[in-house]
Symmetry: D2
Subunit: 363 residues, 4 copies
């Protein structure tokens, strides 16, 4: 029963990797927002495999259909249902190795939790494919956020140990789509691409780090003490398959800092209170402080690898070896960038509504 996210902008996800479709219902989207399939399609297309070294060979058209909640191109206040049909399904590999637990995958936990009834094909409900639904919801959220001038942007800052040089927001925005890795540092991107090529050749995979930034977020988003903005964002981030950690602002580096270094001094600029630095990552006491929200998530290397791995047959409890076949990415980081953006947008939109900043009717 955990397939809904958000309180006022409530996203309910459905669909499986090799089922008939992947979809999402957004309940609480304000009435009066112009929305076309094309608006949504853009982000869905960005999420598709890029064709480069990193990507899967499964090719889905992923044509966005709007099933409800939009009338004459404008949201009505009713639940919005978006859906894409699954078409390029090849489940044959999965049938063959059905009971061999793929290391690093949810095969074991899903089997145990759902009594073996889970749809195992292409990881079923645990596939990255279901994030198509989230990206559709995110595209809707971003349209709403833009009405308040709030921008959400994510980019690749590390792959396989290779780190991108820091860039400012405008530079990132300009460069992030200039290469297939969604890395705003082209030199690092080249290195990353070479490393990915190498990993593929070795039948291996790579992880990395994505940074997400939200700009022009007003002061006051977040509902302490438990529904904090950073807590909700963290929960959203960890829902993204393969994400294993999240940090805000200075993050883990704050462990080695002193208070005098880490505190962000307040100042006044253009009549508004700002901080001189942003070690807080835009959140103080669980509430946005008007500075950019800055977070980083770690994405583990893709679990499906061609190399032989030790595992177990869950039916027989016999040990086995498994080399995962099928059509997989080598490094999901560049595609996950789009999902990170989507889930940040969904979360921010929900909190903006809770704070009364986005109204129930757009006029």
């Amino acid at each position: 029963m955990g397939n809904s996210f958000g309180e006022l902008f409530k996203v309910t996800s459905f669909g499986e990797s090799h089922g008939s479709c992947v979809g999402v219902v957004v309940d609480g989207c304000p009435a009066g927002l112009p929305v076309t399939g094309e608006d949504i399609q853009k982000d869905v297309d960005r999420r598709k495999p890029g064709g480069g070294a990193a990507a899967t060979r499964r090719v889905e058209e992923d044509r966005v259909e709007i099933l409800s909640g939009v009338f004459n191109g404008i949201t009505t206040g009713a639940p919005v249902c978006f859906l894409v049909w699954n078409k390029d399904i090849d489940s044959s590999e999965y049938e063959k190795t059905r009971y061999l637990l793929r290391p690093g995958h949810a095969d074991y936990t899903a089997f145990m939790k759902y009594g073996g009834f889970n749809d195992f094909r292409g990881s079923g409900r645990f596939s990255g494919r279901i994030t198509v639904g989230w990206v559709m919801a995110g595209a809707l959220a971003r349209k709403l956020l833009r009405l308040k001038n709030i921008e959400v942007l994510a980019h690749t800052v590390e792959i396989g140990g290779i780190k991108a040089a820091p860039r400012d927001f405008d530079e990132i925005k300009e460069k992030v789509e200039s290469n297939i890795l969604r890395c705003a540092d082209p030199a690092a991107a080249s290195e990353m691409e070479a490393l990915i090529e190498k990993a593929r050749a070795e039948g291996d995979s790579l992880g990395g780090v994505i940074e997400g930034i939200a700009r022009n977020v007003p002061v006051g988003l977040g509902e302490p003490v438990f529904d904090t903005l950073d807590g909700a964002l963290a929960k959203a981030m960890l829902a993204v398959p393969a994400v294993k950690g999240v940090e805000f602002g200075a993050g883990f580096s704050a462990a080695g800092k002193r208070g005098s270094e880490n505190n962000d001094p307040f100042t006044v600029a253009d009549g508004e209170i700002k901080t001189l630095t942003n070690n807080a990552g835009g959140v103080l006491g669980g509430i946005s402080n008007g500075m950019p929200i800055v977070l980083r998530v770690v994405v583990k290397p893709i679990a499906s690898i061609a190399q032989n791995q030790q595992t177990v047959n869950i039916k027989t409890l016999e040990k086995a070896n498994l080399a995962v076949r099928g059509r997989h990415d080598v490094c999901i980081v560049p595609r996950a960038v789009v999902v990170i953006e989507a889930m940040m947008a969904v979360t921010l939109c929900d909190f903006a509504m809770r704070a009364g900043i986005i109204p129930g009717v757009i006029k």
Copy 2:
């Protein structure tokens, strides 16, 4: 409206630092659990300032009162209300500097969100003091978890850049309370203590990292795709004041690893499926996999420091300098260990109930 946490074991927090009390209501605690004030008091006492270099000089008796939900020493199924009264309150310092925003604190965001009506004394609702309530709820949760043999343990693994050597669970359990820093590596603890003494002398503060471990968690806790176990734990962790990041298992180090290194191979031990390594930190696909849940949180250096800092008067918008007086810890990490344990326990208890592992009546 964000002061409740959990679905079936639902914790509602109330109280302020300098108000009359700090309390908590736990709705959904199973009936039939023996509970005494002493059971709860133990954890509350552990959270109190230790008297060492790191600690505040505010001394509260923090006597646990059970206001409801327990009859003849046994839970009744009705909401359990725990409360401690605030006694040693000295708000004088806060009155003097009421409008000077303390860098790193929630003064600014709270003022903006609540229109300046927030109780500013001792950080009010944003004080670490309110976590007394969470620790009381956590003590209750831990009693329930122990019925299923689930243990939750946290310890200090880093302060101000000094890192503790790794220890196994039993060693940590044995040593964690042997020093005031709750660090299972006594040598590192000595260094940390010296560093804290130095920081105090300089009017500065320190942050660190806490590791939380839960052992004997059964397979199947977590409600994908959004109410994942790790996502809920992350949200719980980020509610703890000063926490700025959380990671599971290999965490951020996974960014530099290959899939072949990071995947945990499956094996069979004593007829049960286990993994040979635990880079996943006990969670796969948002669901516990039977291995220990391992997470680490970063705790930023305490924001209240005696050094002069640049800030702004929120009434006049004039720049100002501020040296925070009052009674503060230098490093909150050792005390936060108890809060991390509590919030992990609360989260695990909620998910154990959602998975039907802890029943509605204890027999």
Copy 3:
């Protein structure tokens, strides 16, 4: 944001009367339940206009499609999405009278709440048509309840002032589908049908009362003090379009009774505690007591009538007259019977799961 119902068996509704489809997502359906489209279709077919005097002339095939959550004919634990496509859409009448508020309809409130962006065609989101989705969810819930031998049954007990004679459960079950009015008293049914014919001739409409009964509900369903079983059922009932009241057991007649009459004496039968009477309607203190759950709802006469009515043009604020054309039922009671059953089943299933009576995996 109110389009979800339930906590553990969570139903999310989407779709509009004249949009592309009507659907539902059920999150929390246990894994392991065999489900075919046919299982669901049966209840959907019962909800369709019966062809008699009472019914609309809109004819929809209402072919149930299972979009997710079922694999190889068995639920997987993932969200189940059911959908029927809208086909027989004729919106012409609605366009003509778009701004004329139909008395008794939600035209005015929907226009005001959603800023005039609501889909007005065929009442859009406020049409009885969206209950197709609820009936699909209800069919799923009933399958789960049947595993525990719990039966849900509703029937017509009054139309336009004509009351059916009381019948016991088995008699109702046997006779309810024997006439088009779903009334277990055939004599009363004949009178009702004549009255409906008369009302239709006069361009008028009729209301009535439906009784819902659930048998074999175990003791213990309900979560006081606010999530009571009767409270949740009442909320579910009032969501059904045209329902304006609900009562349990003796209901409103209890106002004229004495405690000595109204109290149900306890007794023991076959080793189980029962009550001799059932004025409580199966609920004491918000918790099921093992006796049949008995409720009655009042269904107002259909608002769409062919007679001239006084109204207002919401654009011009000018008074106007309106005779509602389009394809409408004269009395919705017989079709609402199926929706009442569905919403009772959904509610009971949710509470059975909350009480741990229906497990997370069906074996």
Copy 4:
């Protein structure tokens, strides 16, 4: 886990009849609202036994204490905790008859649900006494509603079959507190009082009907299709001990009406759209339509009666006779009026916040 009510104005109830206290936490109360204990005390005092024929002889001072969320007499945005201590506790009668199930009470269901661990003294959690907490929350809600000119008023319209003559809002408001029965028709009130005296003499009890009205509710409250305003009100009403049914506007009488009678024609008055009649009770399609919200609830006769009743000993399963002693009301209706008002206010306040009509900060 059902002890919270509301989404944005969230009320959490705790305490028992014979425990140490009865309390409530209100999470989501806007900051900036002046509140004193006296404001809240007024409604609490109204709920106390009136001293007349109908009332219990238990006398509690019920002194309201504000434990949190109010600073300098103004709400801070933090959770507000109100509490009254229980003082006049006499549990002796309950101990003696502990295992004899009182007919009409929740003894049996509570015992079964909570494994016999429920606090049985004075009905524990199922006592009308816990509604003191709700009345405190309601008093807070009413203060917020008054800022928008929304008034909530309830009154006795029937006791033991004696019905009050209809009165208009202002008349009710003027007369409701003029007699101990809270009945705006003094002649009927006299008859009711005589009947109560008779019932008391016979060791019996009486039920009745309460009407609740909310005036000046703006158009647009309610979140279809499931969180309807009437549905939420119905759920709130059924939480009130002894309430067994609820109806809106014409209610059950609509079953005998034709659409042409029951539809409320629209008109324009002072530039606003109104209806000429109010059979809808102020709700269309689950959304308030600007007309007064009018509901009626049936209150069953008090279950505790001095007459001998047949029952069962739950420990031995032997049949027994029971005459309930202790200190009980004969007719709870007049006191329940205050609770109905409170729960209406809490519900309306929550929906007004959801509709953005009551802001997060009162200025």
